[in-house]
Symmetry: C2
Subunit: 260 residues, 2 copies
């Protein structure tokens, strides 16, 4: 534990992928404030869909924008993964007690985990041995309503600060969009095997050149009860333990039998 | 199977993350040419370290640069994942029989799989149900020598065309850099639990502003014999079956016992 030397509070690193100005980040900061000494490092641009991208072709810039008791905030030009690297290596020069990322505007359940900048930041911290949680709300709107998330977000963060997490494991938390009823509770789930079915919106520019907008439709054929998508559909908060070891152990025997 | 209607050859989609001009891509094209009808979609820019990034803020452009018997080549402004989407949705409008990505200039063994544009393209195809293989050479040089890779690359591609792959599983193939001895053979491995230890190179620009170059050192504390890193160190070609289901199943009980 690298608790703040003066206040002895746990050090919590915070980032997201919707940029420093996103209301989801502001909400997360507000909820984490009573729990520790906060260091926020967020991008000056929207980094949605950046996956686990890192910046290697251009240099990174970072500036401090807030310095209050137990609260520091930095804005940079990096991806969510860069934010974690800058936060730990340049700002803190040590490991925080917890990294939280989000609250993302939009789902990171199911296959979205693999495209998500929010979860890439969480995985990056996890690789570095830092307990880490990604929070996402199932509402893509910039003006998404986060009024119902407080208890769930804080409860899970407190638990991880208390219990830590198994080595190589981080958490992907998704919260249903606000509705007439509060979420029924929290369910521990596996990642649903769904996918995006792409449909490019292809157009002609004024000079007659064609260009393509990536769009798509979420398709979930995985109807088992133990998935995150199913929990969310049933108005539960889903928690998936996620790992960065992507080995398909169950397939090793098959490939070995090929005698390559 | 969506074999080319005229030639009845398997359709092979090819991409990479080092741009269309990389010699690793040219090598892969040359090796795949006898195996099928090739459709190449590659980026006009180097996309190393792009992870599973997709382009959603700007439109995608693509142009055909070659059209020969059983060979089409397209260049676009997208990431490796975009290249797969464009190849399947806009060019082929159907699933190819195989996707191959690479040959990457540099290792994608161990934790590199998660930062890799080469492997992101492979995972994207895998999510879409397409048998997919990523090839990487342990030599970052633009002028890397690929003379020793032929038999390994072709053997694995032929086997996957023949046997396909288990659902939700793709292959991460890494090949040692050329040396006095040929690689000893092929080993089926798990992903080594190594990581990049970051060291930012922080500098001052001519106006006195500070900026940071991301750099780093690869650190492998995972000394078990069954890892890809160990196989490569021992001059074997490593093959790791990789999956996009990132659920840490072994940790579910622990988190369930928290009674959140």
């Amino acid at each position: 534990m690298t608790k703040n030397q003066k206040t002895k509070k746990p050090v919590i690193l915070i980032t997201n992928d919707d940029s420093y100005s996103a209301s989801g980040l502001r909400k997360l900061i507000k909820l984490m404030r009573p729990l520790g000494h906060l260091v926020v490092v967020a991008s000056d641009q929207v980094m949605s869909g950046m996956g686990h991208a890192i910046t290697i072709k251009t240099p990174l810039r970072m500036r401090k924008v807030a310095d209050e008791p137990d609260y520091e905030e930095y804005v940079c030009n990096g991806t969510p993964v860069d934010c974690v690297k800058l936060g730990t290596q340049v700002v803190l020069k040590s490991k925080p007690d917890l990294l939280v990322s989000g609250i993302n505007h939009g789902s990171n359940a199911s296959i979205n985990v693999i495209y998500s900048g929010t979860m890439a930041a969480v995985l990056e911290a996890c690789i570095d041995g830092i307990p880490a949680i990604g929070y996402s709300l199932l509402d893509y709107s910039l003006n998404a309503n986060f009024d119902h998330v407080n208890d769930f977000v804080v409860k899970i963060a407190k638990k991880v600060l208390l219990e830590s997490l198994p080595a190589g494991v981080c958490l992907n938390v998704n919260i249903p969009a606000i509705s007439d009823e509060m979420p029924k509770g929290i369910k521990i789930c596996r990642q649903s095997h769904a996918r995006w079915v792409e449909e490019f919106d292809s157009r002609l520019d004024p000079r007659g050149g064609d260009y393509h907008w990536l769009t798509g439709r979420f398709e979930n054929d995985d109807i088992a009860e133990d998935t995150d998508q199913n929990a969310l559909d049933d108005n539960y908060v889903s928690v998936v333990p996620v790992q960065f070891d992507m080995t398909a152990y169950q397939a090793m025997k098959t490939i070995e039998n090929w005698n390559l």
